[in-house]
């Protein structure tokens, strides 16, 4: 279900009143969970099993982890039972993998492995093993649905003798092999809970329904922001305090998000798609403009989604974290990543970069760790070499600006606007690899930008004016003139403008770009 479609409006008109009506009962959490599952299942109901499976397993793993003391081994009854159950289940899966129906064998084999690990965890009462099970399970889900085909294709191309079969053949009961929407978001969110619990940063959530609601909370289930248990779970402990301001703030956020998506992102997409679908026919100026337009398109698309997500959550009294903070005003690549998809970059910082050693072991190791984190972040976006190059480019960009910022000249003498434009130009260049359909397309676009002739890119003035106005708004917001934007006249004028624009000029209901990740 998409936020900018009519079914979502009806969904919300049902969910909200019931949610408020249940405020004095204990049913508001089950209601939120049911609503979230309905929201997700609207797309393909059978992928609800994935969310439910991932949630249940992580809930159980943390519960078992809770029975394992940090230091001395223990003789715990729950662990003994868990060992027995896991062993029996594992044997069942092994026999299915060996002698069961063909269509179930691969799945049974994977479950055998996970159950074997779980049995080992119970036998040794080892917290780390439970953590490994959670990581392996979540990453296996992600790897299988997102990367298996890419890996198989590349391996078959490199080693033709292998003849690896397509991953769709591994699906049980012949289910279709489709990337479940938002899989990266809910697996990362669930995984962060087990890691944080392992590290002692969050307490165990004993209520399964509350934990399940945390994993599948519908405003942010499909495309984030990726919430942390420490921030969101406590908000589910009691019914939120509802004030009038929740509605006005929530509606303000939602309207801005809707405008970004319908009026800006979808409009820019028309131009970008036309150029990127046939790059060999475009001249240099058109390619440059389409690339810049894509930079804004993806910003409006993704930040629009998170604005709407935050707005919907706010209507119910919940606060989701800020995910975008005017990233195109960043003065360095590091600054850019503190402003762009903040929940993902902080996730990689906390669960990849810091565990690798962060910046604690000298410049070489710091840059190596940065490079690895960015490379994984790039590949997280999709199974293609273009995403890996995009991640690598950003890693290099971060390293370069980090070094530049060490020099007093760069810090003090280079004008802020020049730095902002430089960062924007670099980020836009990297978007070429993100947006191009194939690596050869991306290289062709880069080549043509530097070699082809420059003609009129035939971009509508309306489009350029809109983007220019948004950029100007952001500059004013971060300047001394900010108070102008706070006046009632400007706020009302903008609200009226946005609503009327969408009624008059909205360009269809395309899905959000980040759903595919």
């Amino acid at each position: 279900m998409l936020f900018h479609t009519w079914p979502f409006l009806i969904f919300l008109l049902v969910v909200l009143p019931v949610f408020f009506a249940l405020r004095k009962t204990r049913l508001w959490i089950p209601w939120l969970m049911a609503a979230s599952y309905f929201f997700y299942g609207w797309w393909k109901p059978y992928y609800l099993f994935l969310v439910l499976y991932s949630t249940t397993l992580d809930y159980c793993l943390v519960a078992l982890m809770d029975h394992c003391p940090r230091k001395t081994p223990t003789d715990d009854r729950v662990l003994r039972v868990a060992f027995g159950v896991c062993t029996v289940a594992m044997l069942g899966c092994v026999s299915l993998a060996v002698a069961g129906p063909n269509q179930l064998r691969p799945t049974a084999m994977v479950f055998s492995l996970i159950l074997a690990l779980m049995a080992a965890g119970a036998l040794f009462g080892n917290r780390r093993i439970w953590l490994v099970v959670s990581v392996v399970n979540n990453l296996l889900l992600l790897l299988f649905f997102k990367y298996a085909r890419f890996v198989v294709e590349n391996l078959n191309a490199a080693f033709p003798a292998l003849h690896l079969s397509d991953p769709s053949t591994l699906m049980p009961w012949g289910w279709s092999y489709v990337l479940p929407v938002g899989i990266s978001f809910f697996t990362f969110q669930s995984l962060s809970y087990t890691i944080d619990f392992y590290r002692g940063l969050v307490p165990r959530e004993r209520n399964f329904l509350r934990f399940a609601t945390f994993v599948c909370f519908f405003p942010q289930l499909m495309a984030g922001p990726i919430e942390r248990a420490k921030h969101l779970l406590p908000q589910f402990q009691q019914f939120p305090a509802i004030r009038l301001q929740n509605f006005t703030d929530g509606a303000s956020l939602f309207l801005v998000g809707l405008f970004k998506k319908l009026a800006l992102a979808n409009y820019l997409a028309l131009y970008v798609d036309r150029v990127y679908d046939n790059p060999q026919a475009a001249d240099a100026a058109t390619l440059v403009l389409a690339t810049v337009a894509f930079g804004w398109q993806i910003f409006f698309d993704f930040s629009g989604y998170t604005d709407m997500a935050r707005g919907v959550a706010k209507l119910m009294g919940f606060n989701l974290i800020l995910n975008f903070n005017n990233p195109y005003l960043a003065t360095g690549l590091g600054d850019f990543w503190r402003r762009w998809h903040i929940s993902l970059s902080s996730w990689f910082r906390d669960y990849v970069y810091i565990p690798l050693g962060g910046n604690q072991r000298g410049a070489f190791n710091t840059y190596r760790n940065l490079f690895i984190a960015f490379l994984i972040s790039g590949v997280w976006h999709g199974a293609a070499w273009t995403f890996a190059i995009w991640g690598a480019l950003h890693a290099i960009g971060v390293m370069v600006t980090r070094e530049l910022e060490r020099s007093a000249f760069y810090r003090e003498r280079v004008p802020k606007l020049a730095k902002q434009l430089g960062v924007f130009a670099f980020v836009s260049f990297a978007w070429i690899f993100f947006r191009a359909a194939t690596l050869s397309d991306a290289l062709l676009i880069v080549r043509r930008i530097f070699t082809a002739a420059w003609h009129d890119p035939q971009a509508p003035l309306l489009m350029l004016g809109l983007v220019g106005a948004v950029w100007l708004y952001q500059f004013v917001y971060e300047s001394r003139l900010r108070d102008v934007l706070r006046t009632g006249f400007v706020r009302i004028g903008l609200a009226v403008f946005m609503v009327l624009w969408m009624c008059l000029l909205s360009s269809g209901g395309k899905a959000f770009i980040y759903f595919q990740f």
Binding site: L253, N325, P460
Partner: protein
């Protein structure tokens, strides 16, 4: 909760903004009616390019304030698929008759059009056409799956279920909202008339943005001088075996029955013309099934005490296809209608 812009309205500001928006949405279409030139005159019919401009259709019906006029309503047979405006049935019926047909309609869409955009039709005399073409196959009856069909936004979006209609819930709800918010229908009108039937943003990206205003464009694809204005025998491969859909299973027929009831509830005096379908085009063995259907329609109309005429089939050479007459065919049909006693009684005295 951090915001990264200053767009954060309080209650009063929201209230003010909503009032301004509501005023703009309500007043804009009304003001537009006063500003936009819309000349009709005798034999006017909604231009082919604006067949889906339902706001314009509603505006056209609102113009027809003379209660002595008789509204002739139906699909492309009434609109005149192969003929010029002065070659249609309403033209040959006389000055009192107004062409309110729309190209591409069918009973399910006719019902939607009248229900949502035809509220101006109250207490009027309406000559309603029923075209048996819509019962010639499950596909024509919208019972078979199809990629798309004309006027989908007019058909019932949820109930009764139409097997041929495969739009998702969002599109269906969008259609329902559009019918109920006049501003959105007006936006559609603006796009159809001034932006080459594209949404405005797509129009800004079009290679050729020049648009001929269809309100004032003459249609050159129709009329006796056009290549399409020929008897069906010159363009068809002979008689056809139709897969007639029985009346009790037909979605189109049920919709037509609802349409009649709706028009009568609004105080209209309805007379129905059934066909005349091009029987020459029906394979010999298939004609009995057709006649059963036609007689079934007539029987239901009699049961409802509705004035109706079932004209005899026209000569073969006066049909352009299975249901559309050529110019001479319309002239003959009009004469036969005037000769019909039921029609004459319903019509009342002619104006000289």
């Amino acid at each position: 909760m951090p915001f990264v812009n200053e767009f954060r309205l309080n209650v009063r500001q929201w209230a003010a903004a909503l009032v301004v928006v509501a005023l703009a949405l309500t007043l804009t279409p009304r003001v537009w009616k006063r500003l936009e030139k819309f000349d009709t005159g005798p034999d006017y019919r909604i231009p082919y390019a604006l067949s889906k401009d339902y706001w314009l259709y509603e505006r056209r019906l609102e113009q027809l304030t003379d209660t002595d006029q008789i509204i002739v309503f139906g699909d492309s047979v009434i609109w005149g698929e192969y003929v010029l405006p002065d070659g249609t049935l309403s033209h040959f019926l006389g000055d009192r008759f107004v062409n309110a047909g729309v190209n591409g309609l069918f009973p399910l869409a006719e019902e939607g059009l009248i229900r949502n955009y035809g509220t101006a039709l109250r207490g009027r005399k309406i000559l309603l056409h029923f075209n048996l073409l819509w019962l010639t196959s499950p596909k024509a009856d919208l019972q078979a799956a199809q990629d798309e069909f004309n006027h989908a936004r007019l058909v019932p979006q949820f109930f009764p279920r139409i097997p041929a209609y495969s739009a998702d819930a969002s599109e269906r709800l969008g259609a329902v909202v559009e019918r109920n918010v006049q501003f959105l229908s007006w936006v559609n009108h603006i796009q159809d008339v001034y932006f080459g039937q594209k949404d405005i943003l797509r129009w800004t990206l079009a290679d050729n943005r020049a648009v001929r205003n269809p309100l004032f464009t003459v249609d050159s694809k129709r009329g006796p001088a056009s290549r399409r204005h020929r008897p069906w025998t010159e363009t068809s491969e002979g008689p056809v075996q139709f897969e007639w859909v029985p009346l009790d299973r037909s979605l189109q027929w049920q919709s037509f029955q609802r349409l009649v009831a709706l028009l009568r509830r609004r105080g209209n005096d309805v007379c129905t013309v059934v066909g005349p379908f091009n029987e020459h085009m029906i394979a010999e063995k298939n004609r009995a099934a057709y006649r059963t259907l036609r007689d079934g329609v007539a029987a239901w109309l009699s049961e409802q005490r509705l004035p109706h005429v079932v004209p005899d089939v026209l000569p073969s050479a006066l049909y352009a296809d299975a249901s559309h007459p050529l110019t001479d065919g319309y002239e003959l049909l009009a004469r036969r209608l005037h000769e019909s006693a039921a029609f004459a009684v319903w019509r009342g005295p002619t104006r000289n």
